[in-house]
Symmetry: C2
Subunit: 160 residues, 2 copies
């Protein structure tokens, strides 16, 4: 698997990954009817570095890295990761997360924060914990899951 | 004191409040060299409802209210408040905060969250606690204060 910076020409492949995740509305606090153009503008925005994970030339995962805050908070990174439904359970998310931690260190970030990990997203929660992230806050009933209703969300943090 | 929705014509007065706070860089995670145009676009952006507090016709405080997240997180509000240096210590921030809690309830928000309260900002911390906000997370050394260096930041939350 190769993880490399995304190019403009990856937009269609990236949409094929992030579109279904956004439409499902179960794991990211994004409007589930977000248009393709707006979703791509968000995911590949100028405020972010966007990467793709490809296998045999096919883009199967993508992540972005950005400062979580501006000004005095710009030394803490924030990332979002999504994997194509065809490639789940094969370690892509872990590989992207490890890549992002290395890249964030290389960029001089001192910590990484996830602002909103939906508590029902067991797989993500376990992955982040295994990579050294702590749950530093529980936001009570902060996410309305389209199937199971209101659930907690977590803030997760680790130093780099 | 009157708290009312901001109008386009309030931009100069709002900048006279938020400009010095942004330039100081001690309490908000915003770039301290943010241009006036960008600062106004941020504070009065289409994603926000912006209010001003005026006394004898002079705008002395301002706050914004917005959903803290999109999608399944849109029922939690977020606000930012700033008071003119000339009017500190006279209860303006408390009045704006109370107004914002009422307004958020009226808008149907179920909770309010502050994502990044700088731990050295004692006055804000005491005010939010007196208004029922809990510190739900300590973000270790997440803010670089221009005078005292790296300090913690807090995530604060209360139900409505």
């Amino acid at each position: 698997m190769l993880i490399r910076p995304a190019r403009a020409g990856d937009a269609v492949a990236i949409w094929s990954i992030i579109g279904p995740v956004i439409r499902a509305g179960e794991t990211y606090a994004l409007d589930c009817d977000l248009s393709e153009a707006k979703a791509i503008a968000y995911w590949m925005g100028a405020d972010k570095e966007t990467f793709v994970a490809e296998e045999d030339g096919r883009v199967l995962g993508t992540y972005y890295l950005r400062p979580n805050q501006a000004g005095g908070g710009r030394h803490v990174a924030n990332c979002g990761y999504m994997t194509h439904a065809d490639a789940r359970g094969r370690g892509l998310a872990r590989s992207m997360a490890e890549h992002s931690l290395d890249h964030a260190r290389a960029r001089g970030f001192r910590a990484m924060q996830f602002n909103f990990v939906v508590s029902s997203n067991d797989r993500a929660l376990r992955l982040w914990q295994s990579l050294g992230f702590d749950v530093v806050a529980t936001l009570p009933l902060a996410f309305e899951h389209p199937v199971i209703g209101f659930v907690d969300a977590f803030v997760m943090f680790r130093s780099l």
